[in-house]
């Protein structure tokens, strides 16, 4: 695994700065905003991660929910230790996504997108129907242990940043190259002895482990979760982050999540207009700067030659 990119140290510096800010800032609104941005960044990066194999995975939202519910159930209902509940979130999300991917990733065309949408909504409906996990109102009372409670935002920010780097590391590795090959022309990897279905499942599993961890952290950040937090709309927003930030660059989802989350704080009050606002932003971004903000910045500095397609 090799991370070689001119921007990688800038990314490390940015992550360290975010964690330090979450550690040192005194205004709780600001610290939780950092965690919220990084959570959205992980969701967007995970969505983009599966876009590598050419699939739009709406179930990114579902596995975020699986992570959150796993942690919340284990913490609130079973009273299991903090570390274990956080460890189980990505594990269960990965396991379930392996089953989900094994069944759904054999087809080509729009089927995966449709099934991932249905899966997400079914998962949400299942949460609402089970009274033991709070039904419609969800679960309350997930708190980090006293020892790290004061610095929990910094702790969460560090793990979320680590998840982002992990996704980036895989993307830059030989495995990431195989994901791109599958999207480009999947007959080639098949012809040289690679198991394309397995690789696609692996891609979804890695992505889901990342959002599963983000879900587990989210449960402790928010202290309360509800089924409606994990509707397909979470993935649509993640797609907006990816498109605004720029799909072509690993920093795109992070930039998109930061910009839209901050802007979202301004429009949150005018609730009826919120979705229209997001929709308009996506359309304008796609028309005006299809490479996203990162693509726009790179082009203005003459850093990119025109992409092949």
């Amino acid at each position: 695994m090799q991370i070689r990119s001119p921007g990688v140290w800038a990314c490390v510096a940015l992550a360290v700065a975010a964690v330090l800010f979450a550690l040192l800032a005194t205004n709780p609104y600001h610290t939780s905003l950092v965690v919220w941005i990084l959570t959205n960044a992980v969701l967007a990066a995970a969505l983009r991660f599966v876009l590598q194999i050419g699939e739009l995975n709406i179930a990114t939202a579902a596995f975020f929910g699986v992570g959150a519910y796993t942690t919340a159930i284990c913490a609130v209902l079973f009273g299991w230790p903090f570390w274990l509940t956080l460890l189980l979130a990505p594990l269960l999300a990965a396991l379930l996504s392996a089953l989900f991917g094994w069944v759904t990733l054999r087809t080509k065309g729009p089927y995966f997108l449709l099934v991932s949408f249905a899966f997400t909504e079914v998962a949400r409906l299942i949460y609402t129907k089970i009274n033991a996990i709070g039904g419609n109102s969800g679960l309350v009372g997930m708190f980090p242990p006293m020892a790290i409670d004061a610095h929990y935002p910094a702790f969460a920010a560090a793990l979320l940043a680590a998840a982002l780097f992990a996704l980036y590391g895989v993307e830059r590795s030989d495995l990431g190259r195989l994901f791109k090959a599958i999207k480009n022309n999947d007959a080639i990897p098949r012809s040289v002895g690679l198991n394309v279905v397995f690789l696609k499942v692996l891609c979804v599993v890695i992505s889901s482990a990342a959002v599963g961890l983000a879900g587990g952290l989210h449960a402790y950040t928010n202290n309360v979760i509800a089924p409606s937090d994990f509707s397909y709309f979470v993935a649509i927003l993640a797609l907006a982050y990816v498109k605004i930030g720029g799909e072509g660059h690993p920093l795109g989802p992070v930039v998109g999540a930061a910009v839209l989350t901050l802007v979202g704080q301004r429009v949150a009050g005018i609730s009826a207009w919120e979705n229209i606002f997001y929709g308009a932003v996506i359309v304008v971004a796609l028309l005006a700067f299809p490479g996203g903000l990162v693509g726009l910045a790179a082009r203005s500095r003459g850093l990119v030659r025109r992409d092949a397609r």
Partner: protein, 250 residues
């Protein structure tokens, strides 16, 4: 397991098709087609457009499965096996169209080819250098494959296959669109692969002069059926082949 051993060139049978048949709805693309490929030979598969050559290629490489008949690779029954499995057994194919990863660099293309056999990035890179040197791609490693000149694109599709270390290399029209000197270079490469690397080659090709020169033996398909089989000179004098392949004699 290996039936008759009427050797012309090369040794044991390493690929055997037994009465292969493939139907697409009402259309029978390949029917009652049996042939053998022997270790170390260069076998040409020829026939007019629509004769079933591509279907045969897809069948033996596991990209589609036969409606009837059996397929053996190195004595093992691989009828119905996946393309991945057959490739791992050492039968690697190239493609006539979309034969490379057009949006990725030449290095990345060959790296993907080496991904399964070679463990570790360094070993894969070593393989890339070796294969690129053989196929004349060493000076173009950083180019995007889709931007390569046509001749080098054909070479790259062969390089991807070679990186997977095949024992049987199946080339689907590798010479299409190549210039004179490029054809000569490609034919020299095939010969070198056979003699220096012990490869067995199955060649589908339209360039008749090249086929006559390169192949030890030809099989001719017409309307999905075996029309003729034998050494190039004999096949080129075969009346039925001339009529089917070149049109009626004037």
């Amino acid at each position: 397991m290996n039936g008759d051993a009427s050797t012309i060139v090369g040794g044991e049978v390493i690929l055997r098709a037994e009465r292969l048949e493939r139907r697409f709805g009402g259309l029978t693309a390949v029917s009652d087609f049996s042939f053998e490929l022997r270790q170390g030979e260069i076998l040409g598969l020829i026939g007019p457009n629509g004769a079933g050559k591509s279907t045969t290629f897809n069948l033996i490489s596991g990209f589609i499965h036969p409606s009837d008949g059996r397929l053996f690779v190195m004595g093992r029954d691989v009828t119905g096996a996946s393309a991945t499995t057959i490739s791992r057994m050492g039968l690697v194919r190239t493609f006539q169209h979309d034969s490379l990863l057009s949006e990725m660099s030449v290095v990345d293309n060959i790296l993907v080819g080496a991904s399964h056999r070679q463990r570790g990035h360094e070993k894969r890179l070593e393989k890339v250098r070796e294969v690129a040197a053989m196929t004349g791609l060493a000076d173009h490693l950083d180019m995007i494959a889709g931007n390569l000149p046509h001749g080098l694109q054909r070479m790259l599709s062969i390089a991807i296959a070679l990186a997977a270390e095949p024992r049987i290399l199946c080339l689907d029209e590798p010479l299409t669109g190549l210039q004179g000197a490029e054809v000569v270079a490609a034919l020299e490469l095939f010969e070198r692969l056979r003699t220096a690397h012990g490869l067995t080659i199955l060649l589908v090709e339209h360039n008749m002069r090249a086929v006559m020169r390169a192949c030890d033996r030809l099989i001719v398909l017409n309307y999905g059926r075996l029309l003729a089989e034998g050494p190039p000179e004999a096949v080129s004098r075969n009346e039925a082949v001339i009529e089917a392949y070149l049109g009626r004699k004037r």
